[in-house]
């Protein structure tokens, strides 16, 4: 999924010709003026010296600092023994880079450099107006620095993390590059693409905040601790909003289940009820907060997923129905990516639970802990109602990167919200 975002569009950057003559003129000037302040950031594997990944970075006017995406430099942050960073500037000038601060929530990294171009980037404190032309800069697919003009379309509507919706192509390799207004001031940092002409930028205020914190606190000694803190704070903020919301329920079969409880959780549904062929009728609803926080190439977190299934089979014997019902809950997987080095194995409890209203449900709750980040867990919940012979309601959620308190509070609110006649 992530790869799809980064490598979203195949075509890129032939838009200069389509812009009006005035913009084209200033775009040319812009590019000429700022090209020296754009660097290609390369992650090199120490053993082989080969490029592991590339991205774009830009030099800020403050204190020899370079800005790029955290996901561009993550391997060098987490595995400094294995990877090192290098930049490549105009005229094939090369040099070392060192990460000094990161913000994994907004996918930003500050990197110190000895490279000192004459012209540097400054941050635009104001947000552009909707529809303003802005210019994304970067080095797509290692083809050389380019400029892509596009339109500022405000902040993404249903996203928990503020992201600028940029109508213009942001391609792989442009990650970490700046998007500037007509005056050449940074309004956002390229971060992701969702396909043709749909790009996302981290707003400049997130960069400003990271910069302020760095100037105040200085270089970070322990990145893992800093990342841990950011994850804990971010999940707290997100779940405060979810848990304090008045959950809207929707009709679902003979019961009620939570709907889009907060704006950043989106729901879909499907069913096979009209098909005559299947004896087991299924109605399914699926809700998620699908924006992930990238930690490393094997490890993502931050997703929330809720799933509901109503199964009914009026023509089957109860034993036949329960056999199929069991198959529907026998496989459950976490929805974030993680390796053995990142998380512990899942531990589960499974019991028949009697709800306060007298309903019974086989309930399964599994937890795994993050190895490098204390106090963070992935949690998985699965519940199957048992009070009917030929129908059942499965409710399921997975949370990633949450504290024990958050997981338990969400679990309580969730199980109370699922009602069943």
């Amino acid at each position: 999924m992530r790869a799809l975002w980064w490598y979203g569009g195949l075509w890129f950057a032939l838009l200069l010709g389509s812009a009006n003559p005035v913009a084209a003129d200033s775009a040319e000037q812009l590019f000429a003026r700022y090209e020296p302040a754009l660097l290609q950031v390369r992650v090199l594997e120490k053993a082989s010296g080969a490029k592991a990944s590339i991205g774009t970075g830009f030099v800020l006017e403050q204190a020899n600092l370079l800005v790029t995406n955290y996901h561009v430099v993550s391997e060098a942050v987490l595995f400094p023994d294995k990877y090192q960073l290098e930049y490549l500037a105009v005229g094939q000038k090369k040099g070392q880079l060192k990460v000094v601060a990161v913000d994994v929530i907004n996918d930003l990294a500050l990197v110190s450099t000895d490279y000192q171009p004459e012209q540097r980037f400054s941050i635009q404190p104001e947000r552009p107006v909707q529809g303003a032309t802005i210019y994304s800069l970067g080095n797509p697919h290692d083809l050389g620095m380019i400029l892509v003009p596009g339109t500022y379309n405000g902040l993404q509507k249903y996203s928990f993390y503020p992201r600028i919706h940029f109508t213009g192509a942001v391609n792989a390799g442009m990650s970490g590059g700046p998007t500037v207004d007509a005056a050449g001031k940074v309004v956002g940092v390229n971060v992701a693409s969702a396909g043709n002409q749909l790009g996302f930028l981290v707003p400049a205020d997130a960069l400003q905040a990271l910069l302020q914190r760095f100037l105040k606190d200085g270089e970070v000694a322990d990145f893992k601790q800093q990342i841990d803190q950011q994850l804990v704070q971010s999940q707290q903020k997100m779940f405060e909003q979810i848990l304090s919301a008045d959950w809207q329920l929707k009709d679902f079969g003979p019961g009620k289940v939570p709907d889009e409880v907060v704006p950043f959780i989106r729901c879909w549904g499907e069913s096979n009820v009209e098909k005559n062929k299947d004896q087991l009728k299924k109605v399914a609803a699926f809700c998620s907060q699908s924006e992930e926080i990238f930690l490393s190439q094997q490890f993502t977190t931050g997703r929330i997923e809720m799933q509901f299934e109503w199964l009914h089979a009026p023509d089957l014997h109860p034993l036949q129905f329960f056999n199929r019902y069991q198959q529907n809950i026998s496989n459950a997987n976490p929805d974030n990516q993680a390796g053995k080095e990142d998380v512990t194995a899942f531990e589960c409890q499974h019991k028949v639970v009697q709800q306060p209203n007298g309903q019974h449900a086989k309930t399964i709750f599994c937890v795994r802990a993050y190895r490098n980040f204390a106090g963070l867990f992935d949690a998985l919940y699965l519940s199957a109602s048992l009070d009917h012979d030929k129908q059942g309601l499965i409710s399921h959620f997975t949370l990633s990167g949450v504290s024990q308190h958050t997981a338990q509070a969400f679990s309580r609110k969730f199980s109370e919200a699922v009602l069943w006649q």
Binding site: P318, K340, A345, H350, V352, S411
Partner: protein, 323 residues
């Protein structure tokens, strides 16, 4: 004093037994001998047995083409004294010679267990067990197959007799073995034992499925199921071997236990291998049955939530573990 001559096959099983009161016995392929042999390497007049004045029997080789030998493979030059019970060969044909004073083993009482096991060969019982196993198979088909798909039903039903036939291969193999070694096949008792084992195993499985759901997938149920299954396999094999093998009882039990352990360990080893591949997926008990099968007391939502503290503590403690 009379002499007894046993004609043996290659496995030293007795195929003919002769008793002579006279002092001299002629042995060979010609029809004027006292003992007429079939082996083509035996001469028409190969050897004769002669009793001397002390009552000892001597084997005289009549200058045969392929020679005569006595235990342990020692060629007979002209004549050789034989002990009672000793084996001798004319060419490749083995013979065992006894005098009539030779001690025989005491009579064996009827073995009660063997008698009981033999009763399982009753045809009515076998038919009932057959039917039971068949019904169990049809039940498990009925559980999973959609009834609208007639073709799939008939295909599965056609497979059933084949499955029963495959199940009879085991008792058939045992019967063959025992036929070769002790002239007694006992196929029907073996068939009865095997199908009783299969039926009890299916019943045990069913019982454990209900118990597993009732006790919320408790670990003890898994242990009980596995150890029960192992015990049933060992019991079945012991009964099979009791009738088929000529071994002492402890040896039969040992062999059955060893074979049973190998079979269970193999399936356990396979599941371990499989386990490692999907280690990252959560493992939980997903058994679902209608509420009327639940014998335990359900926990309250609060108790369930409180119990989850343990999961957080336990996984937190394992953060630094290598595995």
């Amino acid at each position: 004093m009379a002499v007894i001559i046993e004609v043996l096959n290659k496995q030293h099983k007795v195929i003919e037994r002769h008793k002579f009161a006279q002092q001299q016995v002629a042995i060979g392929r010609a029809y004027d001998n006292d003992v007429i042999l079939h082996d083509k390497h035996v001469c028409p007049h190969h050897a004769h047995l002669q009793q001397d004045e002390n009552g000892q029997w001597l084997l005289h080789d009549l200058s045969s083409m392929n020679g005569s030998f006595i235990e342990p493979r020692q060629q007979v030059q002209q004549a050789q004294v034989l002990r009672s019970g000793q084996i001798c060969w004319l060419g490749e044909q083995a013979l065992r010679i006894y005098d009539d004073q030779h001690q025989v083993a005491p009579a064996q009482p009827f073995n009660r267990i063997e008698q009981k096991l033999l009763k399982l060969g009753h045809l009515g019982l076998i038919a009932t067990l057959f039917l039971l196993v068949l019904l169990e198979e049809i039940f498990s088909l009925w559980l999973v197959l959609p009834d609208k798909q007639q073709a799939q039903w008939s295909r599965s039903l056609i497979d059933l007799p084949l499955m029963l036939l495959v199940l009879t291969l085991w008792p058939a193999a045992l019967a063959m073995w025992s036929k070769l070694n002790q002239h007694e096949a006992r196929f029907l008792p073996q068939l009865g034992i095997t199908f009783l084992g299969i039926a009890v195993m299916a019943l045990w499985q069913l019982l454990m499925t209900i118990l597993n759901f009732s006790l919320d997938g408790a670990e003890t149920v898994a242990w009980l199921r596995e150890s029960g299954r192992l015990m049933l396999i060992v019991l079945l094999l012991t009964a099979n071997f009791y009738l088929a093998l000529q071994l002492t009882v402890p040896k039969k039990v040992l062999l059955a236990t060893g074979l049973g352990l190998i079979l269970s360990l193999q399936s356990m080893g396979l599941s371990l291998l499989f386990d490692d591949m999907r280690r990252m997926a959560p493992r939980f008990d997903s058994s679902l049955l209608p509420m009327s099968f639940y014998l335990n007391t359900p926990v309250s939502a609060d108790e369930f939530a409180k119990a989850s503290d343990e999961l957080f503590n336990s996984t937190s403690a394992k953060r630094a573990d290598e595995d």
